[in-house]
Every structure is written in structure tokens, then in C-alpha cells.
């Protein structure tokens, strides 16, 4: 088993019971998709609908970083996770 650290903000945080940071235990070799699936199982349909479209791809503007690197620059949802990885899940953000 591996444990990863999940951090999220704003609207997604609200859909995860207001938890900004939480640990998630996954099976060895789990991917980002599996981590998100597990979170959706815990927090239910509203979170699932916020994150995934009907094709089980990320909704536009949802961004996931693993150890700081956006998953689009890795293997997307298939990016494998290691024990201790930091996973950041963002709702659409812009401005600055």
C-alpha cells in the first residue's frame, strides 16, 4: 500500500468536506485516476461531477499536480503515484 498527500482548494475543497489536506491510502502502483476515483467514492456524486466529464476525463479547467508537476506534462490521469507523493487538485483558477 502507498499513502499520498492530497491538497485541494476553494470549490473542490468544499466538496471534500472542507478538508484542505488529507492522506489517502492506495494500492501499490495506483494512478492519479484511481486516487481521484477513491476520493469521489468517499465524497460522492457532487465531487465526481465537478472533476470528471461523462467520458471519465477531467472537466475543463480541473488541474492536478503531482509533486508540483502538472499531470498533463506527465502521463495524465494514468500517471502512477508513489508512496509520499503530494497531489494537488485545483478547480479552474485564473487571474493574477
Amino acid at each position: 500500500m502507498i499513502t499520498v498527500e492530497i491538497t485541494t482548494i476553494m470549490g473542490i475543497k468544499a466538496l471534500m468536506g472542507g478538508n484542505k489536506d488529507q492522506s489517502l491510502t492506495l494500492s501499490d502502483g495506483a494512478t492519479v485516476a484511481e486516487a481521484l476515483d477513491q476520493l469521489c467514492k468517499t465524497y460522492g456524486l457532487p465531487l465526481h461531477e465537478r472533476i470528471f466529464n461523462d467520458a471519465q476525463q477531467l472537466n475543463p479547467g480541473i488541474v492536478v499536480f503531482v509533486n508540483g508537476c502538472v499531470i498533463f506534462a506527465l502521463d495524465g490521469l494514468e500517471t502512477p503515484l508513489q508512496d509520499g507523493d503530494a497531489v494537488l487538485i485545483f478547480p479552474p483558477v485564473g487571474g493574477g
Binding site: 491538497t7 485541494t8 482548494i9 476553494m10 470549490g11 484542505k20 472537466n59 475543463p60 479547467g61 480541473i62 488541474v63 492536478v64 499536480f65 508540483g68 508537476c69 502538472v70 498533463f72 506534462a73 503530494a86 494537488l88 485545483f90 478547480p91 479552474p92 483558477v93 485564473g94 487571474g95 493574477g96
Partner: protein, 627 residues
Amino acid sequence: MFQGGYMGKVLRVNLTTKKVSVEDLPEKIARDYIGGAGFGVKYLFDEVPGDVDSLGPDNKLIFAPGPLSGTPAPCASRMAVTTKSPLTGAVGMSLSGGYFPVELKFAGYDVLIIEGQADTPVYLHIRDDKVAIKNAEKLWGMDTQITQSIIKQDVNDHNTRIACIGQAGENLSKMAAIINERRAFGRKGVGAVMGSKNLKAIAIRGSGQVPLANPKAFETARKFMLEAMKQSPVLYPEFSKLGTPMVVDATSAMGIFPSENYRNTGERDYSTTIGVEASISRNKGSEHCYGCPVGCTQLKLAQGRGYEGGMSDPEYETYYSLGSVVGVESVDSIIYNDMLCDKYGLDTMSVGVTIAFAMELFERGMLTAADTNGLDLRFGNHQAVTQLIEEIAFRREGIGALLCDGSRIMAEKVGGEAGDFAMHIKGLELPAYDPRGAKAHGLNFATSYTGADHNRGYAFQEVFGIPVPNAYDRFAVAGKGWLTKWNQDIRCATTDCPTMCGFLMDMAVPAIAEQNTADLVSSASGIALTKEDVGMVGERVNNLARVFNISAGFTRADDTFPKRIMAETIKEGGSSGQRISQEDLNLMLDEYYEARNWRQDGVPTRQKLAELDLPEAAAVLVARGLL
């Protein structure tokens, strides 16, 4: 003769001779530079030598909206002011929105050039073709809000739009801004240039309309843009409801929200105290720029002892500059101090970062209570920040005079090792992103023609994870030279020149920004531009500005970071372990210059300048023995 978009006229006002003249806008300039920052850089390059005294009569202030300003294109009420910056010595270009920008178009002009120096305070009053230089002696000493309301009474027209300086500009603070309504041409000390010319304000009322060359094609392009805005995952409802303050939460989680003069970025979570939840609790409504359906500006009312009644609209950058970088965790103090900066006409960003620098020196014992007029300048002392804003605005003896020209000059005045803690690039204080955790964003700060300026080449790939044109690892060094060039050219061509709000471009049409600009500008103006032409405008402006800066004395050595960014590693948070070594910087710069087809000393090649049709830039380099 222009068919639309452009009014075809340049208004020139010489404050020394009091001569007012109107010239035709050459079509070649419109085609090659589009407008806004492009016009500013072109006129600055042609008319102001690089070695001119920024605060002398030979410097100029060039105000230019774009061809889309005043048309029904959404979010296009933007204007650039371009000058030689007294803060940096480089091109100083600052953009503002609101209602002032379109009014110049309605009055019949694409460009307003202010030159010379009045011997007593004046303000400029433009009503279509009636242009008057009026006595402003009674306004001198007044803040920006009172100035605007008195001028409206003076000209007996409450719909007159005004841009003015406050006391900071009068006192030639190199951090002085030009304020219009509650918005600002904030950075690079443009307000000091206005102050040096004894020009208190510019008041404009226009009665014209901006014609459209091809209304049908324009309407198609506009509808496309509005639809893309609706489809944007960010604009509605998030951005229109929360505005830029939401970025505090994002950059905090990424570990790039700078803290306490960058000495402990990532070690404290500011999102819990000054993040979007805390700041939204102070919301009283939102404000729109002219023609903007988004209305991202969030008006906030401060609460609590000492800050009651403070009303303003701090943006993301201000939660950093008057918040985290000075160690302050009170939204009320940020709202109040933001209001003070607007009132006195100061750039919140440079002011906050310069105060953070002073705080670090104070905590290190390099400044003492004797230097600070007795103020306890430890990080987190928000009352001291309030006090310092006043000291700076009025250039008060002691600490006010020490801080009021920004970090670089302050470092020179303090001497010794002080400069090691001054967070600026080319004299411009850093924006709210620690470059160690977002390398292309950082490389843009190091190479932007205006100094450490996030808006000249915003790396949304790194900060928001948008995979356009590709996805990037924000910590990686390789590939960032090419990306920075791409970001700078596209930002310049699609937002700074046409002129259009950058938020809109990033959030609605990032992947097709050049085509979108080409469609809107071509149909508005009748000048047929392809997306390749648009891209080339961005490159042309960046090259011409680079040559201006070379003629002002800048070299590759100035494309760098503050010492702390290169020497220290981020210790905690989402960017833990990151720094930018000298080797990293060299690699990124080499790649960036190569992508630009510049020599490795940072000088554009003859071939590149020829390709961009910039013989005037080549001539300047030849004259300096650089080509």
C-alpha cells in the same frame, strides 16, 4: 485613411511651449504595431533617446488605447502609458482599464503624447477637438480621489473621465502611479514622470464613436469571443464572483506565494488568513471596466479597529505586497492600505516589496529605530505599513525619503550587503510569484522589457496548469527559453497592443488568441491581418523595446534574479527544494536568446531586425558599435 477601429489622429501636447497639435496616425504604424503598448514603444523609440533623464523635459508620456477600445469588443477599454521609467531606466509601460481609455477614442484620438515640462502645475482638458492646458495650482497637494471630483466640478461635467497623480507623483516618488477612477497605471513610476512635468491630471470627454470597417465580420468575431467567454471554465461564475484574490489560494498551495521578503516562501499558509474566503467576507459588490461583462473587480469594505471605512478593491498582487511579503495576515489592513496607495497615487506592488526589504534590514540590524523614525519595522506590523505609505507618499525626511524611490535606490543608500535582500529586477520590484517554483514565469521577470513584470509574459502553463501550447513542468529549466518568448510575444500582440484585458485572453481563448485578435482587429479596422502578422507584432515590439533598453545601457547581465532567488532554496511547501542556480539561469537565457534569434550577449541580430522590418533599431545598434 482608416475605415474603422482607429480614429486616425495623434494628439501632441507640449507643456513647455503650450503648443497643441494634431497629426495623422501613419497606417504603417497601425499595421506594424496595432496600438496600445505597440504604439507606445514605437513612439518612445523614435522620439526619446535611451539615455534621456526620465524626470527631465525630454522624456515623454505616450498614452495609447488600442483599435478595439471603444468598439463593442468585450473588455477592450484598456490603455497603455509608455515612457522611460524613472524606477528602472528601461521602457516603462503600464496599462490601465476602467472608463478613461475609451474616452480618448471617443474624443477622436488613438495616441496622446505629452512632452516638455510646465513651469507651474497644470491639467489637460480634452473635449473632442477642444484641448486646453489649465491651471492646476489649487489641485496641487490633493489626493487622487479629491482631484477627480474637483475637476469634474471645474469642467461642470460629471461624466468626464480623469487620470491624475496624487501626492506621491507630485513628490516624484519613483513608485508613483497614475490613477483613473479607482484603477491605476500602476507600475514603473509613471506617476513621477507626470509629476516631473507638473501635470496633475488629464480630463477627457469625447462625443464621437469608433467606426467599424466591416460591422458584419466584426459582429461574428465578437460573438465568437463572447461564446468562448461563456464556455470558459473560469470566467463564470468563479472569476466574476471572486476576482483575482482567488489566486492567493492557488499559489499558496503551490508554494510560490512569497512570504516575508522571500525569506520563508512556503512556510506559512496565508490562504487561511488572507485567502479568498477571508477576503470575500468583506465584499460589497463588484465593478466592471467599460464594456466588460465579467466585472472581476471586487469592492471590499474593511472592518475592525483602525481600518473602519477603508474601501478598496485589492487585486491578487496586493494580497502579496501589502500582505504576505510584509508578513501581514489581516485582510482589513490590506484593504485599507490598498486604499491609501490609490489615494496618494502609489504602486501597491513596489511599495509593499520595498517595505518588506526595509523590514528585513530592520530585523537584521542593518536599519535601526534611528533610521525608521522610531517605527518598529518587524514583519507583520501592519500599522507600520500604513505609516510608511504616508511617509513614502510625502517623501518625508528619514524613512520616507529612504524608501520612496524603490528598492534599488534604497539599497544604494543603505550600502554594504543591503542589496542582497532587495527583491527587484532592473529596479522593478518582483510580483507575487516566487520564481524558484515557476521557472518560465521567473524567466519572464528576468527578461521582460519592463523589469520584473508578470504581465509581459504570464506563464499560465505553470501557474494555472493550462496546457497551451503544451504542458510544462513548472520546476524544469529546459524548454523555458522558448516558452518565455512565446508567452511574451503572444501577450504583447493579443492583449497589450489591441488592447484587450489579459484575463479574458488567458481564460477564454488561450489556444487561439492570435486568430481571435486578427479577426477582431481586421474587421474593426479594415487592415487585413493574419494570425502570423499578429504574432509578428508581438515579436517586433519586444525587439524594439529591447533595443531601446540596450541604448539605455542594459546588457545580458541585467537579465537576472535577486541574489536570494539564486542563493537560497525554498525550504517548505509545494515548491520545497527549488532554487534557480547561476547555471540554470545561464541555460534558460541561452535558450531564450536563441529562440529570439538574439546573440548570446542579448543583442538582437541583424537578420532578426531585418525580418521584423526594424531598420531604425539596427541603426541604433550600429551607431553604438553593437552590430
